[in-house]
């Protein structure tokens, strides 16, 4: 199936709020998940006779399980504070991409079936019967949201559209309209152990190849151990790090850091994936099942620390949810969490972000770096949405902003931030997060990247920035594909640990002969 042609939006000097143009993105429809994919997930693959009842029932079920959904559907006053905050609205001008309007797609139905005024005076409060047309709108626009939470920063009640999008996708799944991309990946990660569906032997082969490459390159036998029982650290990293460019450069960086610090570490074939697309679909049990692989691997390998590689939504799930879902963390006093806690080393946060680990090692002098090795680069840093607005690093609020920057500045000499209203908590999503990183949504991805591309363009022009540092596998994949449409070179995109990898000083062992 061919994807429709579209125009790449024009990059202006500043990020501009467009005039509303209705329906510009209503044609977008991500591929539907076919029968085998839906079967595996336990969802129907087509609308049955009773789809409407199923949808309303599911909505009622979610309203009883999630306070966020219930409060957020009630509390909105249509003030308009969020209307110009979504990168998809800024890039498409489609009003249904304004956060409040995206929420209203569900709120209109909620009001009709679950509130008194909506039952009595639907027109007055904008309540509507659930129709196939509305369901199609849900499918279209809940897959034009990357669940980046930028709107929730600016909402006076903290309404997070991501929560509504997740609920919307969950309901769609239950009536038989699953998204092919996300559900296929959820199948692969549960059946094979990673999102790319790479079998164990292929992984071993790749790691061996990488070890040879590093040794040829540096003369140092840096290892990439996998399934090593009794290692100190279990590294959980997105599977893209094993096979994709520029991701793999960061994997090499992590390996060099562990090597230089003398920390024994291992990967796991069973848990060769940090990503957890269960988050995107708002299904707690799926997200839990996917996260349980990490707990299982940690218990089986007997590791003392769990470290997470460069991946935005994975870090959200790891940092914010792993303790809840799987007991990876501290403070649990039930047998389930104690079983793992007593194995973990309390001297370290669990889980720990690779940037926290590397930054500590460099600051304490355990790992030596020479930033001048990156002097060909002028670097800027993109705060990934899930790291920025849904997690933390270090002990202080905002550590998720300062620690990666500290780390970057310790390995490069030339660094410039992008404009203040486009970084930190106000960062713009790359445009490909939250289950949108698929070719059938390319128009959404390209247009949604407009605000970030604009901000990047400004530091390229003013500060000669030539490297965009990232800590997210989705950001890396999205930017390498999409930034060239705005005239940037795809090689300017890479991981923070790609920079570390270049600057790190390794002790070359004396030659035997």
């Amino acid at each position: 199936m061919a994807v429709a042609e579209f125009d790449v939006p024009e990059m202006k000097d500043d990020i501009e709020v467009p005039k509303v143009r209705e329906g510009t993105m209503s044609h977008v429809k991500s591929f539907l998940a076919p029968k085998p994919v839906q079967d595996f997930m336990g969802y129907p693959h087509e609308l049955g006779e009773d789809w409407k009842e199923r949808a309303i029932d599911k909505m009622g079920d979610l309203l009883g399980k999630y306070r966020s959904l219930k409060v957020f559907l009630d509390a909105c006053v249509h003030c308009g504070a969020c209307t110009d905050k979504c990168h998809y609205f800024l890039g498409t001008a489609d009003p249904k991409n304004m956060p409040v309007a995206r929420q209203d797609l569900m709120r209109q139905v909620y009001r009709r079936y679950f509130t008194t005024p909506g039952k009595l005076f639907p027109k007055l409060v904008g309540a509507k019967d659930l129709t196939k047309e509305i369901l199609d709108d849900w499918y279209s626009y809940y897959h034009q949201c990357s669940e980046c939470r930028r709107c929730s920063v600016f909402c006076p009640y903290g309404i997070d559209t991501a929560e509504i999008t997740m609920a919307g996708r969950e309901i769609l799944n239950h009536v038989g309209m699953g998204q092919k991309y996300s559900n296929e990946i959820l199948g692969k990660v549960q059946k094979i152990g990673n999102n790319l569906g790479l079998p164990g032997p292929a992984l071993l082969d790749t790691l061996e190849g990488l070890e040879e490459d590093i040794e040829a390159d540096t003369g140092v036998p840096v290892k990439m151990p996998i399934d090593v029982k009794g290692a100190e650290v279990l590294l959980i990293t997105p599977s893209a790090d094993f096979f994709s460019e520029p991701h793999v450069e960061s994997l090499i960086g992590y390996a060099k850091v562990f090597h230089a610090a003398g920390i024994s570490w291992t990967l796991s074939t069973h848990a060769a994936e940090a990503g957890n697309f269960g988050l995107f679909n708002g299904n707690y049990e799926t997200m839990r099942k996917v996260a349980m692989r990490i707990r299982d691997a940690a218990l089986e390998l007997g590791v003392k620390r769990i470290v997470v590689g460069e991946c935005g939504h994975a870090w959200r799930v790891a940092y914010s949810f792993w303790n809840t879902l799987t007991g990876i963390g501290y403070g649990g006093n039930d047998p389930f969490s104690i079983e793992l806690q007593k194995q973990l080393d309390p001297a370290y946060p669990q889980p720990q972000h690779i940037c926290e680990l590397t930054n500590d090692l460099i600051k304490s002098g355990k790992v030596k770096v020479d930033p001048s090795l990156n002097d060909d680069l002028v670097v800027t840093y993109h705060d990934s949405c899930n790291v920025a607005r849904a997690s933390r690093m270090g002990t202080e609020p905002g550590g998720q902003f300062t620690i990666p920057r500290e780390l970057i500045k310790s390995v490069v000499n030339n660094y410039h931030d992008m404009a203040d209203d486009t970084i930190r908590e106000a960062t713009f999503c790359c445009g490909g997060g939250g289950g949108v990183l698929t070719d059938d949504l390319m128009e959404v991805r390209v247009k949604g990247a407009l605000p970030r591309a604009t901000a990047l363009n400004n530091v390229v022009k003013e500060n000669q920035v030539n490297f965009l540092a990232l800590i997210c596998a989705i950001c890396k994949a999205q930017f390498t594909k999409v930034l060239p449409k705005y005239g940037f070179d795809m090689s300017m995109v890479g991981g923070v640990h790609q920079l570390v990898s270049k600057a790190i000083k390794l002790d070359v062992p004396p030659q035997a002969d």
Partner: protein, 244 residues
């Protein structure tokens, strides 16, 4: 007792009942609904004390709205703070003797009505002028502002232009409070003012006015950011742990 008095007394009893029962039910409903995952919008405070401070800034200063849009913030804050002072001033109709601080607030409360009405007018204007806000506005969004403007303007008329018999009004209200109904003053402006207030009270728990209690239950604002240190599990989710 005149028919008008009976209607108004009945109206206020029903409106108060709807307001109290509706709000109590909603607050009960929000508190019994679990929040299974920690989803504070970060950076977030790491302690409960920090959460109270963050919430106080949201409630008193509308901090997030300030970050978002200075116009909405200015109009919204003028309206809400004006309304707060006006309401405080109105306590003198409900207390005998009048609490000392209500006397202090009295003159401010009088002029705060101007803030309130200006804020409301600004918010209403935005619904017509800004295309994005126009797109999302439903009839009830306009009517809610019109209702509040009606209340504010009728109140100002009685304060600044055509004074009403506030002695009798206070007797009517105190009578309602002690279930000893006294005649309501038959001033058309006052009757309109009271009817609109009763309507506002009645629809409070079933309308978007729920943003007031809702804010306190918003997980993105009221949760501490401490997931690595504390295990947070909802009751329905904890059952999943048993099966492992």
């Amino acid at each position: 007792m005149s028919t008008v008095t009976m209607i108004y007394a009945g109206m206020f009893y029903i409106a108060t009942l709807l307001l109290v029962v509706g709000l109590v039910y909603k607050i009960f409903d929000y508190s019994r609904t679990p929040a299974p995952l920690l989803i504070p919008t970060t950076p977030a405070p790491t302690t409960q004390k920090g959460v109270v401070y963050r919430m106080a800034k949201e409630v008193v200063l509308f901090e997030s709205l300030f970050k978002s849009n200075k116009w909405i913030w200015a109009f919204g804050w003028l309206f809400h703070f004006g309304l707060f002072l006006v309401l405080a001033r109105h306590l003198r109709y409900f207390t005998q003797p009048v609490w000392f601080w209500v006397d202090i607030v009295q003159p401010f409360g009088k002029y705060a009505s101007i803030m309130m009405v200006l804020g409301l007018a600004g918010l209403l204007a935005r619904r017509f002028v800004v295309d994005r806000v126009r797109y999302i506005s439903t009839p009830s969004d306009y009517l809610m502002l019109v209702l509040l403007l009606g209340i504010g303007l009728s109140g100002m008329l009685m304060t600044f232009v055509a004074h009403t018999d506030i002695i009798s009004l206070k007797e009517f209200i105190m009578g309602l409070m002690y279930f000893d109904v006294q005649p309501v003053p038959q001033d058309p402006i006052l009757l309109a003012h009271l009817a609109m207030v009763a309507l506002l009270m009645a629809i409070f728990p079933i309308s978007k006015l729920l943003h007031a209690p809702g804010l306190f239950f918003s997980p993105t604002r009221n949760q501490a950011d401490n997931p690595r240190e504390h295990r947070h599990v909802a009751a329905w989710a904890a059952r999943l742990d048993q099966n492992n």
